[in-house]
């Protein structure tokens, strides 16, 4: 346990010296403030946190996965290529401890930047608007951290899977395209081919709702919209989700992704010659 903590502390320190933590925090805070102030075409000035979340969600879906993937893709293979993994593994530490240490360290980095970045922006917005839905905003931050961790563990898996840092990076970029663009297009394509496209929004078939649960980005979006639904229905486009869609289900699915790919990463890392 002590080794895991030491490795995660080192990862955090390494990235603090790298200025990553500062850059990310500034990006998150400024994006939130910009979206809140300029994001709505209906009104001018500061928007409610709910509307800000609505504006932020698509940005988060694009930004957080790529940041998490970039943070994690070289965590293992980068150290193997540089040669520092030799020294690390010569210490009294297991491969599982290294993997967990890296995940916790990089995950903390991601969580800290999200909490500080979005938190600071939330406070600024809170001072400028009335009727603030802090609970919804906290769930939004929690869900954002969770989706960040999902993509971080996917990146760690790529890092253990490939023999070159450059290939792992290619894999990370592919994953980003896959979950952001390819998978949604494929799902909608299947839906369009099999049902009446006009009634898709309100009457999508059950299998389509189930299929969407296989895309962690969709699950993230459901988790947020389930909690800040009131704000999101302002444009009169309320989405009818099946009854079984719940906070717990969405959280479990995201946690399942994390656990599943952590096990796969360990299996792959353990088999690998350094």
């Amino acid at each position: 346990m002590n080794s895991i903590f030491t490795i995660s502390k080192k990862e955090l320190l390494d990235n603090v010296r790298n200025k990553w933590i500062i850059i990310l925090t500034i990006i998150f805070a400024s994006l939130t403030l910009v979206v809140s102030y300029f994001g709505s075409i209906f009104t001018e000035g500061w928007q409610d946190l709910g509307i800000t979340i609505q504006g932020m969600m698509s940005l988060v879906q694009l930004l957080i996965p790529i940041i998490a993937l970039m943070l994690g893709y070289s965590a293992i293979i980068g150290e193997i290529e540089k040669g520092s993994m030799n020294s690390l593994l010569s210490l009294p530490v297991t491969r599982l401890e290294i993997l967990l240490g890296k995940f916790i360290g990089l995950g903390s980095l991601l969580a800290i930047t999200i909490i500080i970045g979005f938190g600071l922006a939330g406070i600024v917005i809170g001072f400028n608007v009335s009727d603030v839905d802090y609970a919804g905003y906290i769930i939004f931050i929690f869900a954002t951290i969770l989706i960040g961790l999902v993509f971080l563990v996917l990146a760690l898996f790529l890092s253990t899977l490939f023999n070159k840092r450059s290939t792992a990076m290619g894999g990370a970029i592919f994953l980003w395209f896959f979950f952001n663009i390819i998978l949604p297009i494929v799902f909608v394509g299947i839906l369009a081919a099999s049902s009446d496209i006009i009634n898709i929004v309100n009457n999508a078939p059950d299998w389509y709702h189930i299929l969407n649960l296989f895309n962690p980005l969709q699950v993230y979006s459901f988790l947020v919209t389930l909690n800040v639904g009131a704000a999101l229905s302002l444009d009169n486009l309320s989405i009818a989700y099946p009854e079984y869609y719940s906070n717990i289900l969405m959280t479990i699915i995201l946690l399942f992704w994390i656990i599943c790919f952590m096990i796969l990463s360990y299996w792959r890392f353990n088999k690998r010659d350094i």
Partner: protein
């Protein structure tokens, strides 16, 4: 009954087998139908007293990469308190063996023990005894020299004060808070050596310790190795600088094409190969008569004449006869110098054909 996990050399499929020590088992890969056999190692044949005296035990180690045995059934022991030289040409299997000892690669079969801890079963415990300097020393470049060493100290659960002392000992005090990314190759190597000594490990594994160092650095590292031996550490050194190995090692092991070709003291290896020393006899004046009579001495392998010197390669017993012959023919000897064959010559003999 022993359980063993073996990787198919053809398709890398994992095959689990059970057997008794010394038992021969026929293998059939369920995936690719590759056939083979495996002999379960007989019991260590090492008594308790000897076990206590062995720091590193490598027995029947096999490591296969893509169907080729990088290390093919090698066995050796490194005794506690000795400096053990591990030599071989490039690609001979030195680094693979070292990596196997450290658990960096998954071996196909064999037994590796460090202070009687099996690396495969208790790797974490086994590695508690080790300090390692890899061939390619690397650090976390965004962290300072001190932060890098502190990380290792924390992992080894030792005091961080030791890091400052080691940084000073290796002449890096001025760069203690500098990012390692800005270090020269020599500085990185020295810091690497400092890192391997954190926690005062009883076993040191040094892969090319003098690589990238200036002469001052080489002397520093060499004296540190000697100091560690005096303190009772066991040191396994892999190096291409054979003069260095000859100077510091108690025993050497030569590996070639994945197999151990020799293992002894340098003197022992010389005797095995029967390589004769070179005797240089300096004369006041060299005449044709002297040369002729020396050439007639039986048992001389080679004679070279230069200026007033005669170089003869012969057994030490023949040396006296050569001297008597020179003196009988009126030659006046000024100086006699005997040079034993170097480890380099021994190494070349053992790895001939490469």
């Amino acid at each position: 009954m022993i359980s063993k996990t073996i990787q198919c050399p053809n398709c890398r499929n994992i095959i689990k087998i059970n057997g008794d020590p010394g038992e021969k088992k026929l293998l059939l890969c369920s995936k690719c139908n590759q056939k083979g056999k495996y002999i379960f190692p007989s019991s260590d044949n090492i008594d308790d007293g000897e076990k206590k005296a062995i720091a590193i035990l490598v027995k029947n180690l096999i490591k296969n990469y893509n169907g080729t045995n990088a290390v093919n059934n090698i066995s050796f022991k490194v005794r506690k308190g000795e400096i053990f030289g591990f030599l071989g040409p490039n690609g001979a299997g030195k680094t693979t063996t070292i990596k196997s000892i450290l658990g960096l690669v998954n071996v196909d079969s064999g037994l590796i023990k460090i202070n009687d801890f099996d690396v495969a079963d208790s790797g974490k415990n086994a590695k508690k005894f080790i300090g390692y300097l890899p061939e390619r020393v690397a650090f976390y470049e965004n962290l300072s020299a001190f932060q890098n060493l502190c990380f290792i100290a924390e992992m080894k659960k030792t005091s961080k004060d030791e890091c400052k002392i080691l940084i000073k000992e290796f002449g890096l005090s001025n760069a203690i808070n500098k990012k390692v990314g800005a270090f020269s190759k020599g500085m990185v190597q020295r810091l690497g050596m400092a890192r391997s000594l954190i926690g005062n490990p009883p076993i040191l594994i040094l892969d090319e310790p003098s690589g990238g160092l200036d002469p001052r650095g080489v002397v520093l590292i060499r004296s540190k190795i000697r100091e560690m031996k005096k303190m009772g550490s066991t040191i396994l050194v892999s190096s291409h600088i054979l003069s260095e190995v000859q100077e510091i090692c108690d025993r050497v092991c030569i590996i070639n094409k994945g197999e151990i070709v020799a293992q002894d003291t340098v003197d022992g290896l010389r005797k095995t190969l029967n390589i004769k020393p070179k005797i240089t006899i300096e004369l006041e004046k060299l005449s044709e008569n002297i040369i002729k009579s020396v050439k007639e001495v039986k048992g001389i392998e080679k004679i070279d004449i230069r200026d007033n010197n005669i170089d003869v390669i012969c057994d030490s017993r023949i040396k006296a006869r050569v001297i008597i012959t020179i003196e009988k023919t009126g030659g006046k000897i000024i100086n006699i110098h005997t040079k034993d064959p170097s480890l380099e010559e021994v190494f070349m003999k053992f790895t001939e054909g490469d």
